[in-house]
Symmetry: C2
């Protein structure tokens, strides 16, 4: 059983000009990535969001599907949203995982652009299968800031399609990353 976690970072990320911003939560980021996380057996899916109003929106969405009308309408969705946890920053996320697993997670970053010293999907898949705890970070907006990228233990190679265009949504990118690392 793999010990892999994912986190969707809302701060610090870049806007399209490369400036550091906090993004707003997107409803389907919560749902889609939670469903992918459960399908591929991740241990948890963190929303990293320091803004308190935004945190409240997250709680309302999760509550609706876990205890409100949503639970009755679609109980499968409640099960996926059990994976979702809310934290204010990376440090708190690492702390929670460390306390859960008794081991600090290796930080894996993803980026649509080629970085230095990237690790291939096949290599990381092997490492995960060997055991150890991993936290995969995904950036919202125009991606993780350089500062966040620099905190990584492992920088995963970008997803390559068939051409120059690589503007996948973070929801699609997360699905593909989980499938490549953990799919059967």
């Amino acid at each position: 059983m793999s010990r892999v976690y994912a986190a969707l970072v809302h701060y610090p990320v870049c806007n399209r000009k490369g400036e550091e911003i906090t993004t707003a939560v997107t409803n389907l980021d919560i749902h889609d990535i939670a469903r992918s996380a459960l399908t591929f057996g991740l241990r948890g899916y963190y929303l990293i969001q320091p803004d308190e109003e935004q945190q409240e929106i997250c709680r309302e969405i999760i509550h609706f599907w876990q205890e409100g009308y949503g639970l009755k309408y679609n109980p499968d969705r409640a099960k996926a949203l059990e994976k979702v946890k809310l934290t204010a920053d990376l440090a708190e996320t690492i702390e929670q995982i460390t306390s859960q697993e008794g081991e600090k997670p290796q930080i894996v970053v993803t980026s649509a652009n080629m970085q230095e010293n990237t690790v291939s999907f096949a290599r990381l898949r092997d490492k995960i299968a060997d055991g150890g705890v991993y936290l995969i970070l995904f950036g919202t907006g125009w991606g993780l800031t350089k500062e966040m990228l620099s905190k990584a233990d492992i920088c995963l190679a970008p997803i390559k399609g068939n051409g120059e265009y690589n503007h996948l949504s973070v929801r699609s990118a997360a699905a593909i990353v989980f499938d490549r690392l953990l799919g059967m």
Copy 2:
């Protein structure tokens, strides 16, 4: 260069009770799957939607990103949405592809549940690489109706994760299917 198309079917699909319905368009289904389609080199992405009001909503969304303020804000998105075409049913979709390619597409269906005589991803990947025209159908709601599934030339194996849960969003499923069939 592969000659693969995808279509997102809004009718006929099932609701959660298995009844035949027409679903409403989801904004992010258009965006996410268009971006994945362009990333993985698909030739086109059809929205199959017979409802005229719903068609009008699709046109408005596409217009906003291709000619409205969206084009200025995010020109990459306009490029992805060039892949999107609107048709009323499967017959019209097949007709358009046939006229474009000079060859009728093989119909590939996807389903979260195991069907009889499914083809593996590896096998279909090889077939695509050999040439030929393929149209991959994805269902909205609770999936394609039995009637739609019965029209397939090829029934693709379901995406397997690590457990029993397989309720991926159609956006995530499409991303994984394109990656498995066409990714590098």
